[in-house]
Each structure stands twice: as C-alpha cells, then as structure tokens.
Amino acid sequence: MSSTTDAVSSSATESSVGVSGAPKKRKRKALGTIFWISICWIGVVFLLAIVASWIGLDDPNNGDFSLINSSPSWAHPFGTDDLGRDILSRVIYGARVSLIVGFGAMGIGMSIGGTLGMIAAYRRGAVDTLVSAASYVMLAFPALVAVIAIVAFWGHDIWKITIIVGVASTPLVYRVIRAATLSYATREFVTAAKAQGATDTRILSRELLPNVLPTVISYFLIGVATVIILEGALAFLGLSVPAPTASWGNMINESRTYLSDNPWLALFPSMAMFLFLIALNLVGDALRQSFDAQESKL
C-alpha cells in the first residue's frame, strides 16, 4: 500500500518547511516596533482613564481661580484653563469620554451591523436584499447631519451620544463586514460544513467568524478613531458631553477663544487625541497587513 501513503513523515515534515512559508516560528510577518509602541500607548491611555479617580489628580471640573490660564508648571504639568482647572487632569478624564464613545459606539455598530452583515452574506436571498437596501437608504443620508439633528433633539449626554453614533455607524459596518464575509461564504469549506449537517449558527460562529475576525478587528480600531473625531465635531457644535465634563473635543472647542492667550489649552488635548488616533490607526493597519500576508498564503 505504499503507493497510497504520501511518504508520510517525510512529506509532512517537508510540508512544514517546503510548502508553508518560513519554519513554524515566524508564522506572521513581524508586526514591528511601531505596532508595539502603539499598543502600549493605547494601553496606557486605557489604564489612566480607568484609574483616573485613584491617582490623586486635581479635580477636573473645579478649578483654582487664582491660576487661570497658567502655563505648565510643576503643580500643573499641562497648565490650567480659563477656569483654573488642571489641564492634565482634564485630559485624562477626557480620555474616558473618547474611549466610551469610541469603543462603545463601534461596539454597538459591530454587534448590530457586523452580525447582520455576516448573516446577510451567508444567507443571501431575501434577508440580504432587504437589509442591504435598508443600509443603502441609511447611508444615503448624510451621517453627520443626522447625528447632529438627533443629538440636538434627544439630548447630549455621553450615553445618548454613544448610542446615536453607534446606530449611525451600523450601515457602514454592515457593508464592510458583509463584503468581508462574502469572500468566505462562497468557499467550499462552508458548503462542506453544511453538508456535514452543521446548523447555520455553528457555521457562522465556527467557520465564518474566525476568518472574518481579522477584518473585524482592524476595521473596528479604525472605526473607533473615526468616532472619536466625530465626537470632536459634535463638541465644536456644542453637542458633545455637557460642561463641565471634560472631553477632548470640548477642550479643543473651548480653547479656540483663548488661542492667543493660552495656546496650551489647545495643544494638550489635541496632542492627546492625535497620539491616540494615530496609535489606533497604526495598530489597525499593522494588523490588517499582517492578516493580508497570512491571507495570501492561505
């Protein structure tokens, strides 16, 4: 029977070196130092936002009126704003808003839009047609205008904003995830799973989701970045979280009036937002590249 065996051990080991890319260790294209720095930075921001109340920061909402618009000093490393509030503390507390709105809204978008996208791509037919049509309608509506209108009408506390932005992002997430899933849903391993008697739920969660996950993750991160900017836009219209709560958008908005007097007001929240967004983008991009490289070998 030797003609049927595939020279078992030799060719299977051959396959690990001969067929796959590099030997098993270097499975993924190296993600790079920039990636790791970005990950660390994101981690730092998260950490600070969580432990903000416990690390002895100055009160972000009440200031020392004697120190209005002061430049950075030992007591106030980022300076103070026009109401004497410590900017460093406001930046850190402000991170909370960005994180909640950003990750929360994208979380909503991914859960609803992503799930619908996967189901639509897998099932096709009526479900796909209907939901896709609905998404086209929603996408045709200018998102920013819609968000502004609804926020202005409904109210702008942090949770309402998160929900509104989340729902507004759903159609786009739906389209992206649907497209990503489509390329896998037509492959024969999905048909094979069906032929073995797997339920639709099982196919979606065990066959499709692991393949779509890389797209989900990298798109998610880039989406968070977009939402954070959106929060900034809302702030400029006075529609972000109400004063005195600090948010990066609010701070940048307020700093406009004092730009000539106290440029520090604008600098630090902008830097914080900038650095965080670029970290998100770099991570999302690096992950996407790494997954693309894997994809091409698949």
Partner: protein
C-alpha cells in the same frame, strides 16, 4: 449486484432549474439512475452538462426543483431542515478545490473532527482516536499533520484531509465532485489509488463525477454519460468504452488524447458548439450536433432504454452491437 437487491442510492426524475435573470435554465432535466451498494458510478460529461449540479442536488446543497433522491430507501428530498441535517451524515461529498474545501483558520485535527463535534457522537480520547485513525487511513501522519493548518499542505494532501473528514461519520454514499481535477498527474494517481483502497476497506459506495474520461473509467464500475442536463448512456465501464452506443459517447471517446504516438488522430469532430442550456433543442438535445440525427429526434425525447444487459441508451438510433 443483481437487479433484485434494492439500490443504495436512487435518483428519480431529478430536475434542477435556475433562474438566470428572467430566463429559466434547466441545468438538470429529469435524470434517473440507481447506484448499488459497493459500486462506483462514474458520472461524466463536458462542462455545462449538469453533472456537478446533479451531485450537489443529490446532497441537497442545491435544491432540486423536482424529483426524488432516496438513500437506503429513505427519501432525502422533501425532508424538513432538521431532518435533512440529521440525514446528512449518511451521504457525504468531496469537492473539487482541495484548498478552498478546508477552513484556513482551523487545524487539521479540528477539521477532521468537525462532524463528530457537530453530532457529539464521541468526546475526548475516543474522538482523538477516531481522528488519528482517519488521518492514517488517508496516508497522513497524525502526529505531524494534526496540529497544522491547511495552508501548510499541498493540494493532494488537502484532498486527503477532505476525504478523512468525509469518512469520519462512516457515510453510506460518497459523492466525489471532480475531486482530482485540480491535482497534478502524479498526485492524481495517488488519490485515485487511495479512493480505491478506502472503498474496499470501508465498503463505500461512490458517485464519481469528472470530465476526464480516462480517470472515470479507471475508478468506476459503471459510467453514466450526461449531455446538457440529460443522461445519454449508462453502462458498465469496460462495455461503455469498448462499445459505445450513443453518438455523443462515441464522439467523446474518439476525441480523447492518448499518450501513444501510434494512435491515429482521426476522430469524429463534433460540429458546432454545445447549445445554450437556456434554449435547449427540442426532442433529443444532442440532435443539433449528431451525425445520425433524423426527423424523429426533434419531435420525440429519447428515453433511457436497455439495449444490452445493464447497458442503457437514450437514443432513437443507437449503434447496436453485432
């Protein structure tokens, strides 16, 4: 394999129609055949004849528009979703593209064990043992191959993994849909030999769908020839290839290239192109290209009838044996 024993797989008047825009394409136009236990039925034809669609319709991956499929006497068509799912374990399929048939993000062990996991028939050690046994049966070393991902394997090895996965639940019938078409010649030979061995070892019944006539002859006991959604001829392999009765079979056989420089290249050139399945010719679908076509062929659809023991032809003017 007498005519008295009931067939293991029975296909009756199977029709599969698709809507293409506003037109209806009848990819499979009412075919019937039986496959007996332990035999391999080869299903051969050119592209567009509907053989792959037939295979998929039997397993109900494509839904048949009408007709019946029975496996071991139980109807597969007409089952509801839940029952259909349960019935799937008795009839499995192997696909053409070896790489795309495997989930790239799962390890080989998990891929092969998937049917066990779906149906929860075994757990833990027993599950692992079954996976090992299957991987060994298809000629892969479980210790080396088990933990790897499909991308680390060649096309032939991926096809072996697919076979292992298909056989895990010990199906009664195996449908092989162009399973060696994407493989190199030498790998193809390995896989064909493997299939023969597994068939003997596990008592499988196969429907082997392919377009390569030589491959089909090698692996099949009986062969069915399809043209444009209909069966032309069904006969035991050696009979079919030695004494084809249907003009289409004759044309196909004469066009095959053999690696033998002494073989003359004269052959029956089929005139024209295959007609579109959207508007197939009336009566016998082959008549527009048939050298023996006559009046009757355009008005009357030829039915499969027996012209010699176990040799059926759907033709009004078949070449009968002396």
């Amino acid at each position: 394999m007498s005519a008295e024993t009931a067939p293991l797989l029975s296909v009756k008047d199977l029709t599969v129609s698709f809507k293409k825009g506003r037109q209806v394409v009848q990819a499979v136009a009412g075919i019937s055949f039986d496959v007996y236990e332990g035999e391999t039925l080869g299903l051969v034809g050119e592209s567009g004849c509907g053989k792959s669609t037939t295979g998929r319709a039997i397993v109900r991956i494509e839904e048949p528009t009408s007709g019946e499929v029975l496996v071991a006497g139980k109807r597969l068509t007409g089952l509801g979703r839940g029952e259909l799912r349960r019935a799937r374990t008795s009839i499995q399929m192997i696909f053409q593209d070896p790489v795309s048939s495997l989930n790239p993000r799962r390890r080989v062990n998990d891929i092969v064990a998937e049917p066990i996991d779906i149906w929860k028939t075994e757990t833990g050690d027993q599950r692992a043992a079954t996976v090992r046994e299957m991987l060994e049966a298809v000629g892969l070393d479980p210790d080396v191959a088990g933990d790897r991902y499909p991308r680390e394997f060649s096309g032939g090895q991926c096809q072996r993994i697919s076979i292992a996965r298909a056989l895990v639940m010990k199906p009664k019938v195996l449908i092989c849909d162009e399973m060696v078409s994407a493989l190199d010649v030498s790998v193809q030979a390995q896989i064909l030999n493997l299939v023969e061995d597994l068939k003997a070892k596990y008592g499988l019944t196969l429907v082997f769908i392919a377009h390569d006539l030589a491959v089909v002859k090698n692996v099949s006991d009986r062969v069915a020839v399809m043209y444009l959604g209909r069966l032309c001829e069904v006969a035991p392999s050696d009979d079919l290839y030695a004494l084809p009765a249907h003009p289409y079979t004759q044309a196909l056989l004469s066009a095959v290239v053999e690696p033998d420089p002494e073989k003359a290249t004269t052959h029956v050139t089929l005139t024209g192109e295959p007609p579109s399945p959207i508007n197939p010719p009336t009566g016998c679908r082959f008549r527009t290209r048939c050298p023996s076509a006559q009046e009757r062929c355009s008005s009357e659809v030829p039915e499969l009838r027996e012209i010699a023991p176990r040799h059926q032809v759907a033709c009004h003017f078949p070449t009968l044996r002396p």
